[in-house]
Subunit: 437 residues, 2 copies
C-alpha cells in the first residue's frame, strides 16, 4: 500500500475483529470512507498518507456504538431527577416535550452528537420526535446514526395521526436511502403505547424495506403486569404471538423477562439493547444480560436519553455494565471487560444490522476509528488493554475520532460543529422551558 488518505499510527490497535487481534505498535490505514489496511506501524513506513494521525502510544480502536438513545433530550438534561416514573413523565417530561419542534429537536440532537463524538461514540440509534431533524443533525456532525420516528396510538406533536406517522416514517426511509451515514428504522414506542395493529404494521414496514425495527419492551415489571392484564401474556410473548419478533427487531431494555421470554428472543434472533444506567436511575431493574448472552442473544449497549442517565458517555456505561451484573449475580467473573467491550462495538453493530459496516477494525469496513490518549495519571500503568478501557478510561480520554473516513475530532477539538453556538442554542431552549414552568 503506497498511498492512503489517512494513516493512524503509533498506537496499540485493539481491532475487535473475529480473532480479537491486538497489534502492539500498530497502524490503521484509511482511504476514502474505508479501512484499507491494518498492521504493525513499521509496515507503513514507506506509505505516503494524505494525513498522519500520531496515536502517541495510545490505543487505536473501533468507535463505540450507542444502541439506544433519545438524542434531543439533551435539552432536558437534569430537568427532573430522583422522581417516581409517573411524576417524572407527567409533570416534567411530557409538558416539556409538548413544546418541541423541528428546530429544537435539531438543536438538542446537535448537542448530543457533539457530546457523543467527544466521548468516543461514532454511531448511535435514536428514537424520538421530528427524527428528520436528528438525521440532519447527525449528518452535520458527521456521526453515523440509525434514526426512527416514535410511533404510538395517540397523536404526535411531530407528525399528527398514526397514518401520518407511517407516512412520515416511509418518507424518511426513502429520503435517506443510500446515505453513507444515516439508516432509518421503524420505531413503535412499546407494547403498552402501541395497539397490536400498529405493531404488526410497523413490523411489516420494517420487513418491506429491510430496515431495523426498534421498540422499548419489558422495561419494568409494571409494564409487564399491564400487558399481562391486557393480553394475558408477557410483552415478549405478546410480540411473538402477533408476529413481530424477528432478526430485524431491536428490543430495548428487556429488564423484566421470564426464562420463556429469553428463549423466544433467542429463537427469533431478536437483538437486545441494554441500558444499565437508565434502568438503575429510574429504578426499573437489572436486565438479565448474562442469561441473555448464555442463550445466544446478541446484546448491544446503550445509554438511553440523557434525562435518565444524565450523560451519554459510553465509556461510563461500559464500566457500569461490567459492574452491575457482577453484584447482581454475586459472581465477579461475569461480564468480563472483553465481553462488555464487544457489547459496545461488534455486538452493538450487529444489533443495529450494521455488522458489515462498522464495529471493528477490519479492512473493507467503514473507517469508524477512535484514538485514546493513555498518557494520563488515571490510565497509568497499563497491564490489560480491555480492562483499562472498561474500568479506568472515560469518554474524555478519547483524543481523536474518524467516522466514515472523515476526521470529526482531533486532539479533542470538534471539527464539524460550532460547539459554542450549539451550546448557546440549547441554553436558549432550556431558558424557554424554565420560563414556562
Amino acid at each position: 500500500m503506497s498511498k492512503v488518505d489517512i494513516l493512524i499510527t503509533n498506537g496499540v490497535v485493539v481491532t475487535m475483529d473475529s480473532k480479537e487481534r491486538v497489534i502492539d505498535n500498530g497502524a490503521v490505514a484509511i482511504t476514502g470512507d474505508r479501512i484499507v489496511d491494518i498492521g504493525p506501524s513499521e509496515k507503513f513506513s514507506e506509505c505516503r498518507a494524505g494525513k498522519i494521525i500520531d496515536a502517541k502510544n495510545g490505543i487505536i480502536m473501533p468507535g463505540l456504538i450507542n444502541t439506544h438513545t433519545h438524542a434531543a433530550m439533551t435539552c432536558f438534561r437534569g430537568l427532573a431527577d430522583d422522581l417516581h416514573l409517573m411524576t417524572w413523565l407527567n409533570d416534567f417530561i411530557f409538558p416539556a416535550e409538548s413544546k418541541l419542534n423541528y428546530e429544537k429537536v435539531k438543536t438538542g440532537a446537535l448537542l448530543a452528537c457533539a457530546e457523543m463524538i467527544l466521548s468516543g461514540t461514532t454511531c448511535f440509534a435514536d428514537m424520538y420526535l421530528f427524527e428528520d431533524a436528528v438525521a440532519e443533525a447527525a449528518r452535520q456532525a458527521g456521526i453515523r446514526a440509525v434514526v426512527g420516528e416514535v410511533l404510538y396510538d395517540f397523536p404526535s406533536p411531530s407528525y399528527g395521526t398514526i397514518e401520518e406517522g407511517f407516512a412520515y416514517t416511509e418518507n424518511l426511509i426513502k429520503k435517506w436511502e443510500g446515505d453513507p451515514l444515516i439508516t432509518v428504522a421503524v420505531e413503535p414506542h412499546s407494547p403498552y403505547l402501541c395497539a397490536p395493529d400498529l405493531l404488526t404494521r410497523a413490523g411489516d414496514l420494517a420487513n418491506e424495506y429491510e430496515v431495523p425495527l426498534i421498540i422499548h419492551v419489558a422495561e419494568t415489571q409494571t409494564e409487564v403486569n399491564t400487558i399481562l392484564e391486557s393480553y394475558g401474556k408477557t410483552p415478549i410473548a405478546h410480540l411473538a404471538e402477533i408476529g413481530v419478533l424477528s432478526p430485524l427487531l431491536l428490543a430495548c431494555h428487556c429488564v423484566a423477562l421470564t426464562d420463556k421470554d429469553i428463549d423466544l428472543l433467542a429463537s427469533f434472533d431478536v437483538k437486545v439493547s441494554h441500558n444499565p444506567e437508565s434502568n438503575m436511575k429510574l429504578a426499573s431493574g437489572i436486565a438479565p444480560v448474562p442469561q441473555l448472552m448464555e442463550a445466544g442473544v446478541c446484546v448491544g449497549l446503550g445509554t438511553d436519553g440523557c434525562t435518565s442517565n444524565n450523560n451519554i458517555d459510553m465509556f461510563q456505561e461500559m464500566d457500569t455494565a461490567a459492574k452491575i451484573h457482577k453484584v447482581n449475580t454475586l459472581d465477579p467473573t461475569v461480564m468480563d471487560a472483553k465481553t462488555v467491550l464487544k457489547m459496545a462495538t461488534t455486538d452493538a453493530a450487529k444489533a443495529l444490522g450494521l455488522d458489515e459496516v462498522t464495529g471493528s477494525l477490519v479492512p473493507g469496513k467503514k473507517a469508524d476509528v477512535i484514538v485514546i490518549d493513555t498518557n494520563k495519571p488515571h490510565l497509568t500503568p497499563m497491564y490489560n488493554l480491555h480492562s483499562h478501557l472498561v474500568y479506568a478510561a472515560g469518554g474524555n480520554d478519547v483524543d481523536t475520532s474518524v467516522i466514515n473516513g472523515q476526521v470529526v475530532m482531533e486532539n479533542r477539538r470538534l471539527l464539524t460543529l460550532d460547539i459554542a453556538k450549539v451550546m448557546a442554542d440549547v441554553n436558549q431552549v432550556a431558558d424557554e422551558i424554565k420560563l414556562s414552568r
Copy 2:
C-alpha cells in the same frame, strides 16, 4: 474585607453548609489556610486579592472527600480483574504486594494523589503498608489525608511483628501530630484478619490519641459467615462485644449487615464508608445505605483502591452511589443527588472526624475548594446544580483545586507534582511486576 490572599469569583457557590446555601454569582475569599468570607461576587468588588481565580460561571464547591482507599495500589491498576476474590488476592495482589517497599508505595501514592486532585478530591483516607510514605506523598502533593498502617495477625512486609506495628503506628501519630494536612489513624485490617486482642488494643490506641479507628468490616457474606463460625456473632456484634464500636470508628464497606448490626452502628455512633463501585466489581453485594441513613448513621463515600474500581474518581462514584440504591430498592427517589453530594463532602468529613476542618464552604473552615468548568457539551444545559454534579459531571470537569489555602491545580495543570516523572516511576514499578510474573 479589604484584602485577602485568594478570591475565587464569578461562579455558582454550592456551599454544602447547614442551610445548603447556593449563591448564584458568588465568590469565596481565602486568607492563609482558611476561608474568610463567602458571598455574592459584587460584595468583593473593592476587595484586593493576592490572586484572583475566575470561575467563569462554573461551580465553586467544597473539594470531595474519599473516605476509603489504598492509594499506592495505583501500581496494580488493571493487574487482575474479573476474577474470584481468592484467585485475585492469592495469585495476583498478595504476590505483587510482597515486593513493595517504602519507595514503591510513595511512588504509587504520588500517582494516586495526582489522580485524586485532578478529579476534584481534596482529602482522602488511606489504609496500606508503609503509610509514612503515603503521608509524605500527600504532603508533597498538597492534599489532605488520613493515613494509617494496616495491622493484622501476621507479620507485615512493612513493619514486621504486630508489636512493631503498634510501635510504627504510635510513632506515625507522634511524627505527624499538628501537621496541617496529615491525620494519622489506627487501622486494624478486619475482624477476620485481626484477633480480638489486636482489635481492642487498636481501639485503646485510637482512644488514647483521639484519632480515627478505621477497619474493613462486613464486606461480604462469606466474611460474616467466617466470623459467625469463629465467634458466634456477626462481625459488628463481635466488635460491639469486645468494646471496639465507638464514635471514632469508621467501618468500611458494611455490605452484609443485619438489622441488629445497623442498630448497633447507630447506637454507638459508628461512621460508615460506602464503596459501591468496589463492592460491585468484586461482587461483594450492595450495602444497605438508605437503611443506615434512616437509622441515623453517618455514611461517607469512598472509592476503595484502584485495583477494584479501577479509577479513584469520586464524581463517578457519586453517580454510581445514587443509581445503585435506586435499582436495589426499586425506588427512584432514594439517594437523591443532594444526599449523595453530602456523602462525598460534609458527611465524609464527619466520618473522618474532620467536620470542623473541611467538607463545606464556611468561613473559618480550611480552604478546600474546587472549581468545576460547566462550559461543556455534557454539562449543558443546567437546571439543577446538585443533580448536575452527581449525574452529569466527571472528575475531568474539575478545573482548579485549592487545598488548605494552596492552589494545587489551576486550569487542570497540577502545580505540586512533576506528573510526567510520577507516571514514569509507576510505569517502572509496573514493568518489574510484569517481569516477575
